[in-house]
Amino acid sequence: MTKKELEVLVDSLNIQIKHLENDYHLTKEEHEETTSQYLNILSDLSRKNEELTFLKNNLQIEVEKRTKELYESQEYSKLKSSELQLMLDNSSTLR
């Protein structure tokens, strides 16, 4: 390889090195940005999951409370119904 050819090759390699360095610098910056965006999405997801769990637990407590209320109200109705029946029976006997 002649000196002239070597100079051309070095010149060309220098250009490519400059291009790679610049591209690498920007790509690194972009990756950092994407990572931070990704982490934001993850934390957003995790926050939403926590909210969901809270709502789910709350819902469970609410359902249990409501079921108990319904059961009590049903029992009360039964009691009242039997009292009423008794009253009706008594009244027919009196007549």
């Binding site: 250009i15 400059k18 610049n22 972009e30 940005e33 994407t34 990704y38 999405i41």
Partner: protein, 285 residues
């Protein structure tokens, strides 16, 4: 049709539908606190864009382990910058849909040219100047918007211009100036002014055939656009509107930008690869 009429007609036409997407995305680019969520909001209201985004994110090139079904997930996979480019290019691409060919011109060929100029402009910005190149990318996509306007709203005179362009050994802007008394660069610049597109993009588009005449403030981006346009025309990628591109202006631009002319050859291969990748994924037309 005179200049004022053609601007009035086009600014109230479907061509203006690209304005919103472009200004919104440029706003995201220039806002340091904006994120994937803001971009997602722009994309999710555009079903064809959503489909293309998901198709690309699930393509063999990215090969995700599990299928990607969400926009935000796709943005993370492809990268914020790539999705911004995709969103702008797909919106602009809608204008190039009609593919009738006459006097060597077709919108599809023009689209290939614009996309190639955008990609090359961005590569020059990234690798020569260590700048992201979002603005030059938009310049590349929109620099020949005036031709679409002429094709759509002044079709007969545009055909006359093209017929003279193929006969005479002149650049398209010269033929337009002779016949219409205005040219496609002026139309695009005035539309961008109407749409309040950032000034550097607007003036670079307006002066993309005469970068020496633009204000010093916008010289950098305008000269880069000229270099990208010149190289793509010289390499016959897509439609060419310069039959005798000025090598003198090209060399002056390279000198002003401090770019070694040997650099360009390295970019061309990557432009062709990028175009091939886009074509493979159905983004070229």
């Amino acid at each position: 049709m005179d200049f004022t009429t053609i601007i009035d007609v086009s600014k109230n036409s479907e061509i203006s539908s690209i304005k919103e997407t472009i200004t919104n995305i440029l706003q995201i680019i220039n806002d340091p606190v904006s994120g994937a969520k803001d971009l997602k909001e722009i994309i999710e209201v555009d079903p064809p864009l959503t489909v293309k985004l998901l198709k690309l994110a699930n393509s063999a090139y990215y090969a995700p382990t599990n299928p990607i079904t969400g926009i935000q997930e796709a943005i993370v996979t492809l990268g914020f910058d790539a999705v911004r480019e995709l969103a702008i290019s797909q919106k602009v691409c809608q204008l190039f849909a009609n593919s009738d060919t006459f006097h060597g011109y077709s919108r599809l060929e023009l689209w290939k040219h614009c996309l190639a100029v955008a990609i090359l402009g961005k590569l020059i910005y990234r690798r020569e100047f260590r700048k992201k190149g979002d603005d030059i990318y938009v310049c590349g996509l929109l620099h020949d918007l005036g031709l679409i306007v002429l094709d759509q709203f002044n079709h007969d005179e545009f055909q006359n211009v093209l017929s003279n362009f193929t006969k005479d050994n002149k650049n398209l802007t010269e033929v337009e100036d002779n016949i219409l008394k205005y040219n496609h660069a002026e139309i695009a610049m005035n539309l961008c002014l109407e749409w309040e597109i950032p000034e550097d993009i607007t003036y670079a588009i307006g002066f993309h055939h005469k970068p020496g005449e633009v204000d010093e403030e916008y010289e950098f981006i305008t000269r880069t656009l000229y270099v990208a346009n010149y190289v793509i025309q010289e390499n016959k990628i897509g439609y060419c509107d310069m039959q005798k591109p000025s090598e003198v202006i090209y060399k002056k631009c390279l000198a002003k930008l401090k770019i070694d002319s040997k650099s360009i050859a390295f970019f061309l291969k990557d432009v062709k690869n990028e175009l091939a990748k886009l074509e493979e994924n159905g983004f070229l037309g």
